[in-house]
Symmetry: D2
Amino acid sequence: MIAVLKKKATEPQKQHLIEWFEMKGLKVHVSEGEFNTVLGIIGDTTELDTDMIGLLDIVESVKRISEPYKSANRQFHPEDTSIKVQNAVIGDGSLTIMAGPCSVESEEQIMTIAKAVKAAGATMLRGGTFKPRTSPYAFQGMRAEGIRLLKQAGDSVGLPIVTEIMNADHLEYFEDVDIIQVGARNMQNFELLKALGKVNKPILIKRGMASTIKELLMSAEYVMAGGNEQVILCERGIRTFETATRNTFDLSAVPVLKKLTHLPIIVDPSHATGKHDLVPPMSLAGVACGADGLMIEVHNQPEKALSDGPQSLRPEEFEALMAKVIKVKEAIS
Amino acid sequence: MIAVLKKKATEPQKQHLIEWFEMKGLKVHVSEGEFNTVLGIIGDTTELDTDMIGLLDIVESVKRISEPYKSANRQFHPEDTSIKVQNAVIGDGSLTIMAGPCSVESEEQIMTIAKAVKAAGATMLRGGTFKPRTSPYAFQGMRAEGIRLLKQAGDSVGLPIVTEIMNADHLEYFEDVDIIQVGARNMQNFELLKALGKVNKPILIKRGMASTIKELLMSAEYVMAGGNEQVILCERGIRTFETATRNTFDLSAVPVLKKLTHLPIIVDPSHATGKHDLVPPMSLAGVACGADGLMIEVHNQPEKALSDGPQSLRPEEFEALMAKVIKVKEAIS
Amino acid sequence: MIAVLKKKATEPQKQHLIEWFEMKGLKVHVSEGEFNTVLGIIGDTTELDTDMIGLLDIVESVKRISEPYKSANRQFHPEDTSIKVQNAVIGDGSLTIMAGPCSVESEEQIMTIAKAVKAAGATMLRGGTFKPRTSPYAFQGMRAEGIRLLKQAGDSVGLPIVTEIMNADHLEYFEDVDIIQVGARNMQNFELLKALGKVNKPILIKRGMASTIKELLMSAEYVMAGGNEQVILCERGIRTFETATRNTFDLSAVPVLKKLTHLPIIVDPSHATGKHDLVPPMSLAGVACGADGLMIEVHNQPEKALSDGPQSLRPEEFEALMAKVIKVKEAIS
Amino acid sequence: MIAVLKKKATEPQKQHLIEWFEMKGLKVHVSEGEFNTVLGIIGDTTELDTDMIGLLDIVESVKRISEPYKSANRQFHPEDTSIKVQNAVIGDGSLTIMAGPCSVESEEQIMTIAKAVKAAGATMLRGGTFKPRTSPYAFQGMRAEGIRLLKQAGDSVGLPIVTEIMNADHLEYFEDVDIIQVGARNMQNFELLKALGKVNKPILIKRGMASTIKELLMSAEYVMAGGNEQVILCERGIRTFETATRNTFDLSAVPVLKKLTHLPIIVDPSHATGKHDLVPPMSLAGVACGADGLMIEVHNQPEKALSDGPQSLRPEEFEALMAKVIKVKEAIS
């Protein structure tokens, strides 16, 4: 960490700050310039709060040399992490395809879709059960019963299942879930992240709509700091002024994350764009820029879906997309 | 609600949609134009999901005439809501001043600050106890013990207390808390909002960094739909491309909210700007545009604060500000 | 256009508004609902200002059914527009590759790069000559002399040239330029757009950093309304809160634009990301989601470039990328 | 300027970079740390391009100690700049009120409004003559004839006039204009800024919708570097995801700018919010946080205005607002 002190900083003030760093077990290298004093702070600065130091009255600016995340940092863990779920692996160079409806609605619905996506090449079955909805009056999901139906459908076609958790209190219902998803709105629900750090299951964290790439990594760090290193990251669009798409799909996050972390990264074009006809081109783009997988909404009757139907692909559209996805994956391999 | 159908919509498709609305107890008024069919949907459309309807294949666009929030809507509740907390009232035309440290750090610290802010004119004592921190390695707050100290300090100077909750499981510790705050990162933690709908205490909801004004109202609606109508809204900055301030303080939200809702609105210049020297001018601006109150960080030793110190005012700065705040309030009354 | 009037609108006010529309040659279809009056305005509403109507005191909301752009609208021109420049064609299903340095710096530099990009498969030579720079103290480009050198280099390797114009007064220097580029900062320099509407050369318009997709189309419309229908659109990143990349590359704009307009669309990963190592993955993503071409910065000595060097690919990196680009293009064809 | 080099930087690479700085007349102070080498670059670094240096392969990060603007920098010019226009002064602690219609529409209209705003306390008359419009089909302003009418109206009531320029070619028509305005969309039209640097009139620069506060200062620097030091800055809203207001009014920019520069700062609540009922509260907020003045749209018949009518105040509303504005100004003085 480099801290540049203001010209007006007095000697006692400087000494005070240097001692504070030393008290925390860090070494400080002082470089007196013509205009400024520069402190080089050496050691494990992960737990220092840059913002706080930067706002001290005598500090001109402060800059981390190393990132504030340790467990998620590729620098300390150069090889890719791959995560095994039943007979599927995420992050080993293969392409993970999580497909299924936005919400589990009935046994028939989820069974029909499970068969269709399996046949078309999906490697995991996704489906919403506990649903975060902006309006208290909107459908809130089938909850525990939804998980039971999802599991049953996954088992019957041989696909691991992925579903979202909204509260640590619900963990008891997630015993049969293969991958627990943290939604965008809960990316900084730190109490939930801490609880998931104690769970022995892969956690898929979606990037918050107003969260930077570094904050996404800090949320992964919360889970990893608790002892659970099986974290999968997911880009699903950020909020900007553009209204032609529901969110702005920040695909550059994929190669940026690949540099910063060893964790697998998947992308979700369905939620990012909010429009089914944009899902195929943006899925191909996601694969082309190096994502480890896709999360795609598929519904047999999109017009009747209880939530987010119009962004869902029909099974036949999904099948057509999978054929192209495989070709693009080969093209970049 | 007005739904404009696409030219290509067939008669059976139109009938199907009209019946769907009617099934929900709504009346539909059809207007066939040269280029488009326009449906006027009449009745209580609060529970309809506009996004979903808008994305239907045959729908060109959909527009609510009435807003999707009922309890929070000024249209159905024209007079201002005022909320009584001990001997203080929020929203009755007076100015509520919530002041105190970002974090409760020790008995001595919170007692010192409580006395200072009371003397300077604060009407409530705020202090963080359960802290949402981006990094798992940062100070997480004194938690239950912090609440005990905050209560003791509030009682000793005669100020009601405000502190943030991060998880419904912690509610047992909040028995003595006068106003429960929901932080920006939890504004769409719907499970928490539902739990707070069952509590008989005022809830202060901070606007999320990427949340629209309407989404803030929908979060208030979650609490109110549960039966708790004592909700206070708080503008604390949104995330934009500008980096000169921590967030962009969206003060226009104050008059916009005043039109849309009857709930009291306060503003938090400390978190919005992140810089103590911007707090006084932006506090005055907040009062000038009609806010019902201010939430301001005050610390006796900002340079030693365990969190967010540099955005805190010293007691003497806070006192000087209060004098001006009163003058501006008078000027606009 | 649909205008929903407020409940409080009086009969004379309604009549006044209806007459105003009729005075503009439009037909108005009135539909009186229980709660609102809805006006369906029929005819060519291109020249109406929705914002203005929407803000009238008696208007609840207003919504265009048809878009405010005519010439650029795919609805009135369903087949793709393709633009011929010397022996290259843009928008005919082939892939256009515009490559070259951010700035033309010397005869030797541009000649070296021109040969390299031609050999690697570029179809056009790009190079900055009049440079828009944030700081008045930064290098402002070689200007007219730069164009002369660029043309000479293009001719010698057989590539058409593309360079940016900053002011209509400079048009005299652009006689030998094959495609005139309008930069992001000038996307709404309407006087410049009008002047380019009179020019008989293709105009490449880059999307402004804070411009919506619809505003980009309105800027195209400015040029086309002047009589010049040879317009190429370019996505180059928008400004958001994320700082890991220079801008946020909004690739979804490609399929969105493909639906709305018949004009060709290229993407510029060099300016969007600002980092050379992100250029290859994001170029592949751009091709995968259907862009008609790429604009890529290539420099033989990026570390010595007078502007934007570090986002430039070296010729050998560009060559390696071209091989993959071709494979991805085949994969989606 | 502080440049932190990467660990992997070789000695020859370091030497190469150090020599490059020295060649530019700067002194370099090298500090070798355990993990990094830090270069302190001393001298006038105004003309260095931080972005470019920061992206060099061997540079970890680069940070300016001094800002890249000189003439606009308060550090080198601590006292406030005040600008005299006829008998009005901007920036001397008084409040400047620029009021008038969005567009000059006719002699009668501008005369009526001029009298009304003068009577209510305006100190300058504003009016659009050359209009930047998103659509080529919208009203483009009365242009030269509009300036003539504006001047005549200003003279008759004794108010200096302010109007916007869109192109340096139009300068000949601006001879009688007292303050030339650069609109938000032209804030980075560098050719126009350069031309205005040669003019002997005050220039009012509006902040671009996607421009940072620092970029606004760099645009001021363009004009000042040309020799014209009479620059007035104007905050008028930035583009964010919030749609309840036309733009997000970033009032914190006022105190931020007051720290960074000695130039006067005014605010424009009419364009920032786009809604007339938000103009009064946000005007008061602007004054409360320290702005040197307001720019407010006033129209005698807002419903008939040819552009932006619905954000205009009626003369009587403007008069009522002025009374409160004066009280708030007194309250903070």
